[in-house]
Amino acid sequence: MDMYIQPDYEVVRNTDRCIACRVCERQCANLVHSYDPDTGKMKADSSLCVNCHRCVCLCPTHALKIVKTDDTYKINANWSNQTINEVYRQANTGGVLLSSMGNPKEYPVYWDKMLVNASQVTNPPIDPLREPMETQLWLGKRSAPVERDEKGRLKNTLAPQLKLKVPILFSAMSYGSISYNAHESLARAAQELGTYYNTGEGGLHKDFYKYGANTIVQVASGRFGVHKDYLETAAAIEIKMGQGAKPGIGGHLPGAKISADVSETRMIPQGVDAISPAPHHDIYSIEDLRQLVYSLKEATDYKKPVFVKIAAVHNCAAIASGIARSGADVIAIDGFRGGTGAAPTRIRDNVGIPIELALAQVDERLRAEGIRDDVSIVVGGSIRSSADVVKAIALGADACYIGTAALLALGCHLCRSCHAGKCNWGIATQRPDLVKRLNPDIGYKRLVNLVTAWNHEIQEMMGGMGINSVEALRGNRLMLRGVGLTDTELSVLGIKYAGQSV
């Protein structure tokens, strides 16, 4: 360890409660806890602690807590402890700082500055316990010609669409970045919920082909794990152009996480870092994207919708307009708070824009150009609750991707150390002894519970607005009002201020 850097968090043990059962020691892959046979007591090295709370949760006598240290450098509003530590760290290693999960910095969260409407007197709220309340929808192109058969009946001229029973999908997380058991949990939950999970750029494990009808497979710049069966098994294909946590760069899976199984699934060597390039080297412009979209459609006989996922960046409205004209069926936009298994800290914390603003602008642009029906919009990064989902749909999204929330459901405590590969919760690791801690029978059920609970809450909020189909909420911006926002923010979001009538 770097002698300059003191731990951010301290492990505090209540020695009256501790029975030295050594559960904490066995549970900690970071080797924080140890047993001192001389004193018969447990010890802890806080400098190794990532604050994942595994030991706290499993301590049978509730003897443990993790606290923010009160050790501090001389207080400086410009040079925070963390900023100083990062300088020390880089001075020691000469390396790029790495981080995991979403941007934790104090940027505005626009979801929390928008409020939802409800019906009073002039139209009735609708009670979801007593009336149908539809959260089912279809994703994909809706622009199709009206044609009739010889009997005058409408012909189905629609391009393939995806049917979702809930407006929530699990976002891309690769096998490799997360574990086999995490993937199994997501796949089984997607199947039971009538929605989809996404392979990320890590290929599809052979055991999970049976969940193909609920699987979106990703084609990313490294092309890891992409082959004919992979494409054909999926319900839809997603071209990953970018990721909210690290716009403008490719992926990085440390060699330590590339086990034999991961290696086989990704079709890459074992134990060697898997680095996907920043761009797709066959896509240097929008016309190239069109070729990849149609290559994938050709390869799958035009039977599957193609998603194109981009990071939310400054010019995303124009980019989305280009994508909508490229043959893509769905645009996925990932906000700058989206999670990751590993990203350079500076990029995660400084590049990209909030998903709320990106979504509002993309939806508005596509409507202004009359092409909103050519694509569906799915947003993620970060959707934290059913209220965020409702607000996203009212701003113009068709559905939402959730990643971090899904991992939390599986036990993740947001310690942001995925890149170390020693996830004590069995999620972001490939170590068999850790992976087995995540029981997919329990994990999938917790995911189903989470999404089911959110769906109930979405229905309650929709009912309050007098809306009984999620399709009538989509883009219904009059249902939103801003608080604590500037005129510019309101105009970018395309909403009125709270208290303003129309």
Binding site: N123, P124, R367, D373, G466, A472, L478
Partner: protein, 365 residues
């Protein structure tokens, strides 16, 4: 100065009523006046209006424009515009009757028009689209002028006041048509502008509507992609545009359009026979953003017919009735009984199920 319709969103409760004689025999507007009078308390004196079909048999080949003008300047500007785009076959001020209860009326004029053939040909537009665009241009670009009726052999008459007073103001007992609709308005804000009253019309479509739709902005933002401008910010306006888009521009039948606007629930569709299931699923998948939620009852008037439609939960009252060749639609049964006490049949249509009454010889052109 108080705000005009279109400068704010103005939800209203309302009374609606309509009648058609399917044999094509005509009747005066008096019946609608009597029917709306019974439902006086469903309006609050801030808007009333009527649509009559078959009322201009001598000019049935021409588009009948009804216009409100704030002043002579707007009129001159509009007439210059109309003259550049149409042959004006006949024009006059619409005859009205002064009533103490009807105040602040604008100038109200009527024109019978035929598109100038050369202009129409050069525009590369279908004739109806050409006319619709001219209407939109007058309403959007000429301050103080408002086209509130633009169909052939039909006319809308509306204003600020109770519907029975507005009907008498326009002397509707002197017009004869085979179908009539009427609207009494209960806005929750003060419009004060005659253009904001209902029915709302576009070409021969007219809509009277009771409700406050919760899908408004989703519908508005969608339909505006196709060149419509929802300048009045009313439910009626957006529903009219939706029907115009689906039926006139996309070629759906009225029944199909009804199943887009008031689509059956997915759970209901799942229980239907395979052909209906396929058809309704397809319509919902193609036009999900035109689903209208929240309470509404509407009567769509068009050449040769009336269509009644409730929201899919039937959150607004609406009954239909028949007597011989005549068919009636109303917010309240009492209004129908006022003009026809002895009915052959009366029923409340289910939510989302359109009821269509057309001339025996068929509706629409």
């Amino acid at each position: 100065m108080s705000l005009r319709e279109g400068q704010f969103r103005n939800p209203s409760g309302c009374a609606i009523v309509g009648v058609i004689d399917r044999s094509g025999k005509t009747m005066t507007g008096e019946g609608m006046i009597l029917a709306s009078e019974v439902m006086h308390d469903r309006s609050n004196g801030l808007g009333g209006g009527f649509a009559g079909y078959g009322i201009y048999p001598h000019y049935k080949e021409f588009y009948a424009f009804h216009l409100f003008y704030d002043g002579k300047g707007a009129q001159a500007e509009t007439e210059a515009f109309v003259g550049r785009h149409f042959e004006i076959v006949y024009s006059s001020e619409i005859q009205t009757r002064k009533l103490p209860s009807v105040k602040n009326e604008p100038l109200i004029f009527r024109y019978f028009l035929a598109p100038l053939p050369r202009k129409l040909a050069n525009s590369h537009l279908d004739e109806r689209e050409y006319v619709a665009r001219c209407v939109n241009r007058i309403n959007a670009e000429i301050s103080g002028a408002y086209v509130f009726s633009s169909g052939k052999n039909m006319g809308i008459f509306k204003g600020v006041g109770y519907p029975e007073d507005i009907g008498r103001f326009y002397r509707l007992e002197e017009y004869e048509g085979y179908a009539w609709t009427c609207h009494g308005r209960y806005p929750t804000n003060t419009p004060g502008w005659w253009g904001g009253a209902h029915p709302f019309g576009l070409l021969d479509f007219s809509i009277v509507h009771n409700g406050e739709i919760s899908s408004y902005d989703a519908n508005r933002r969608y339909i505006e992609m196709f060149g419509y401008k929802c300048t009045l910010q009313t439910d009626t306006e957006v529903i009219t545009y939706i029907i115009d888009y689906l039926v006139r521009k996309r070629g759906l039948t009225l029944d199909e359009a009804a199943h887009v606007i008031a689509a059956s629930f997915w759970s209901t569709i799942a229980d239907k026979d395979p052909e209906s299931r396929e058809r309704e699923t397809l319509l919902r998948r193609m036009f999900p953003s035109l689903l209208v939620t929240g309470p509404f009852s509407i009567i769509l008037g068009y050449t040769g017919g009336l269509m009644a439609l409730n929201d899919r939960l039937k959150l607004r009252s609406m009954v239909c009735a028949e007597k011989g060749d005549k068919a009636y639609i109303s917010s309240e049964e009492s209004a129908i009984r006022r003009i026809e006490p002895d009915l052959d049949k009366i029923f409340a249509p289910a939510g989302g199920e359109p009821v269509v009454y057309e001339l025996y010889k068929g509706g629409r052109d």
